[in-house]
């Protein structure tokens, strides 16, 4: 195996939070190399270092045996590195052929562009890559996401000889693709491999990785933990490498038995994304929502909170509850921790105190209208202490806090009014291990006080470690509702894949 790109001692920290800690990675030519790790393991930061968009604290790079540096996106491009993201930069108004040849001279005749020749060149080029179903004259805007991705990769292969592409980095490329589109992408990846390119393939989908990749490097908590041939490993080993800890350690245990008091009954919940959701939740029970990306986990939480509209029949503590606006839901004792804390959770330019008070302003103000800074400050300080928040004071702006502390602010806000029902979307995502432990312990505390908790997560260990029962969703449908006790990650994963296998 000849090393094409070697990464050593990649280090990066944000505000004292070490995101990458002496990470290493070896890419060989003509290999498809999977990069795996939980959310927050540092994969995307590593990719940003390679792309030259984030400057490293330390980084030793060798390309084809000679040391190189990447200080800007331009330098990364010149070294032959290509990055294919979900959001692709294409020119939608131009045709496929025009996009392909964007960085090259168009063929000309009498000084004018020879469109016929351009389209022919594009057609031959695409055919050489096995992409025959896309007419070169079609406008880019009319292509599907998957086809755009194919064209983007094909365009990267053209380039000038001096900057010819040798390393492709694909970051969760199939997240938005249909299975047919994914199939085409995999064929193209095979082509790249045959041309001697290295492909770094980032994905959570174990099946894809086993089908497509030659080697895998696993990252956890900002470190490289292993690099293995896929032929010599299995799903279970990969999962334990990624999670790195035996279950139950940081998740805590249920202290006392649930008393069988019904809190929530959801019947026939439906909207554009969800079909036929029916379940019940006891007081203090923790229900997990599992499923692949796009299965409707977040959508179910959003529907319950009244963020997205849905038709439903919901009883909350025996009373009819209509989820039609987040305002009413907060008033009724629901609390919500959204998936993206930076874009959906916090007003980043505002202080910890203002963010905690936001859903509870009416209760914390005189006559429900006049702000009372001392009451708010007191409440915010008490809650910050309760969630073990590390901030200078409650006046500190939330944008200055680390990811884990930002998440704690969103939690503190959710706990402020002692909610009856707490909805959590990816509570542990992008949070360092210490903060994760804190967050899991408040979930336990609330549960023991009788708050019902519904949490969506893509982290199987988190679901199995915390939940009493798990509801499994697939394409917006509820396909199973199981007890978490005695279930292994492999069992849960196979439940998530269940209908795909059947289909």
């Amino acid at each position: 195996m000849t090393s094409l790109l070697s990464v050593k001692n990649a280090c990066k920290s944000y505000n004292g939070n070490q995101v990458l800690d002496h990470v290493w990675l070896e890419l060989a030519s003509a290999e498809v190399h999977a990069l795996m790790g939980e959310n927050g393991a540092g994969k995307s930061t590593l990719i940003k270092l390679l792309a030259g968009v984030v400057s490293p604290d330390r980084l030793e790079l060798t390309l084809k045996g000679s040391p190189v540096q990447i200080r800007s996106a331009k330098e990364a491009f010149a070294l032959g590195l290509r990055f294919i993201h979900q959001e692709l930069s294409v020119v939608p108004q131009l045709s496929v052929a025009e996009n392909l040849f964007l960085q090259l001279p168009y063929p000309k005749r009498f000084g004018l562009v020879n469109w016929q020749r351009l389209n022919e060149k594009a057609r031959t080029m695409l055919a050489g890559l096995g992409i025959e179903h896309i007419p070169p004259g079609r406008k880019m805007a009319r292509l599907s996401t998957g086809d755009k991705m194919l064209i983007k990769i094909a365009a990267a292969l053209l380039g000038e000889a001096s900057a010819s592409a040798s390393v492709f980095v694909l970051d969760e490329p199939t997240a938005a693709l249909s299975s047919e589109e994914s199939g085409r992408l995999f064929k193209l990846i095979e082509q790249l491999k045959q041309r001697g390119c290295a492909v770094l393939y980032v994905s959570h989908r174990l099946e894809e990785i086993f089908a497509l990749c030659d080697r895998v490097t696993v990252m956890r908590d900002g470190k490289t933990v292993a690099s293995k041939k896929l032929a010599e490993t299995g799903q279970n080993e990969l999962i334990s490498l990624m999670t790195g800890r035996s279950l139950g350690q940081i998740y805590g245990k249920r202290e006392k038995e649930l008393n069988q008091e019904l809190l929530l009954k959801v019947t026939r919940l439906e909207n554009k994304k969800l079909k036929g959701i029916n379940f019940q939740l006891l007081k203090g029970e923790i229900l997990g929502l599992a499923g692949l990306a796009g299965s409707g986990r977040s959508e179910l939480l959003r529907a319950l909170m009244g963020v997205d509209s849905s038709s439903h029949d919901i009883a909350l503590a025996g009373q009819r509850f209509v989820a039609h606006s987040p305002t009413v839901s907060w008033e009724q004792g629901l609390a919500f921790v959204p998936e993206e804390r930076r874009t959906e959770g916090l007003v980043l330019s505002h202080s910890v105190e203002k963010n905690i008070a936001l859903p509870h302003l009416a209760q914390l103000s005189g006559a429900g209208v006049l702000l009372n800074r001392s009451v708010q400050g007191k409440k915010a300080r008490a809650l910050s202490q309760m969630v073990n928040l590390k901030a200078r004071n409650v006046g500190q702006k939330t944008k200055e806090l680390s990811g884990g502390n930002q998440q704690k602010v969103v939690f503190a806000r959710a706990l402020a009014a002692s909610p009856r029902l707490l909805l959590l979307d990816e509570p542990g995502r992008g949070v360092d291990v210490g903060a994760k432990g804190d967050i899991y312990s408040f979930i336990r505390t609330l549960s023991s006080k009788g708050t019902g908790i519904i949490m969506a997560s893509s982290d199987l260990a988190e679901l199995l470690g915390l939940c009493d029962r798990i509801l499994i969703l697939h394409e917006g449908r509820q396909i199973a509702l199981v007890k978490a006790q005695g279930l292994s990650q492999a069992d849960l994963l196979s439940l998530c894949y269940q209908t795909e296998v059947a289909a």
Partner: protein
């Protein structure tokens, strides 16, 4: 170095304002820094101040209202037309303010419920209000006997502060109105849940919505308030010049936005605050007054004022980078 930059960003605008005052004080030693001239400035800027204060309300949410100038003109025309029909002053004023509320409601519905970008929606209503003002007035200025003396007298009146050089010194009524609007907007934005929620919408609209803020209702109400403020400013203008014509409010909109932007340069978060907007209004008012007294050509004056706005905003965004 960064400390200097941060300090400069926070207080640069205020410092600039003090330098401008010092400059005019030195160059116009007899006429600028006198009680009479300062009270005069306060009256000159009162209309702009009312529009800028109410504009602050929507700009807190990162929205704009471009229609305030033509709303001011329209409100003046509506009142004057009713006066010319012989209605009472109270009825004329009420009708004009109602038009302001209604216009604001239209803006609010377009922006908040229909979901049109504020820039586009209020550009549209700017044209509509302006056309309407021309249409109902027949394009003519309404003045003279059509305007009741009690209406135009309001702007000339004020609270007596005593005598100076054997002439009475008045705190003008228009200044008092502007101060009242300032007080109201300040209380609403800084001391009520309504204002706090507006700032949250401005900071992150989606996060505010998920935290239970009624984003659509609040945006709508803020636009209604701004429309009302614009109509009030239009009435103040009509009272001051004892006439109404369909273009007299036209200059208010750009100056009001400029004043809010000047104020925003003083905020660390880049958020508008109404007291900062006041400083912005004062800068524009003092420059206008001083340069006029120094007999600077009005076109040169415009260039200078424009240049100062750009310089202030540029220096504050350089400080941020």
């Amino acid at each position: 170095m960064t400390e200097v930059l941060r300090w400069g960003r926070r207080f640069g605008t205020l410092l600039g304002f003090l330098l401008v005052i010092l400059f005019f004080w030195l160059n116009l030693p007899d006429t600028f820094m006198t009680a009479r001239n300062l009270l005069n400035i306060s009256q000159q800027i009162s209309m702009l101040a009312v529009v800028a204060f109410s504009m602050t309300m929507v700009m807190v949410m990162n929205d704009f209202d471009l229609s305030v100038g033509s709303m001011a003109s329209l409100a003046g025309i509506v009142a004057a037309l009713l006066f010319s029909q012989g209605t009472s002053v109270l009825l004329g004023i009420s009708a004009a303010l109602a038009v302001g509320l209604l216009g604001g409601l239209v803006n609010g519905i377009l922006v908040s419920l229909v979901g049109i970008l504020p820039f586009v929606a209020t550009l549209g209503t700017l044209t509509i209000f302006s056309g309407l003002a021309f249409f109902i007035s027949g394009g003519k200025t309404i003045f003279g006997r059509d305007i009741p003396a009690s209406f135009s007298g309001f702007a000339r009146g004020g609270i007596s502060l005593g005598m100076l050089n054997e002439r009475p010194l008045l705190l003008p009524n228009l200044t008092i109105v502007a101060l009242l609007v300032l007080l109201i907007v300040w209380v609403v934005l800084e001391h009520t849940t309504f204002g706090r929620r507006l700032y949250a919408i401005g900071g992150n609209r989606e996060a505010a919505r998920l935290a239970g803020v009624r984003v659509r209702l609040l945006r709508l109400l803020a636009f209604v308030f701004t429309g009302f403020g614009a109509a009030l400013a239009g009435l103040m203008y009509a009272s001051r010049v004892a006439s109404a014509n369909p273009t007299q409010g036209a200059g208010l909109m750009l100056d009001a936005i400029a004043a809010v932007f000047l104020g925003m340069t003083m905020s660390e978060e880049g958020e508008p605050h109404v007291l900062a907007t006041l400083v912005g209004v004062l800068i524009l008012g003092v420059l206008d007054n001083g340069l006029t007294q120094m007999q600077v050509d009005s076109y040169v004056r415009e260039m200078l004022i424009g240049g100062i706005i750009v310089a202030a905003v540029a220096s504050s965004s350089l400080g941020k980078a």
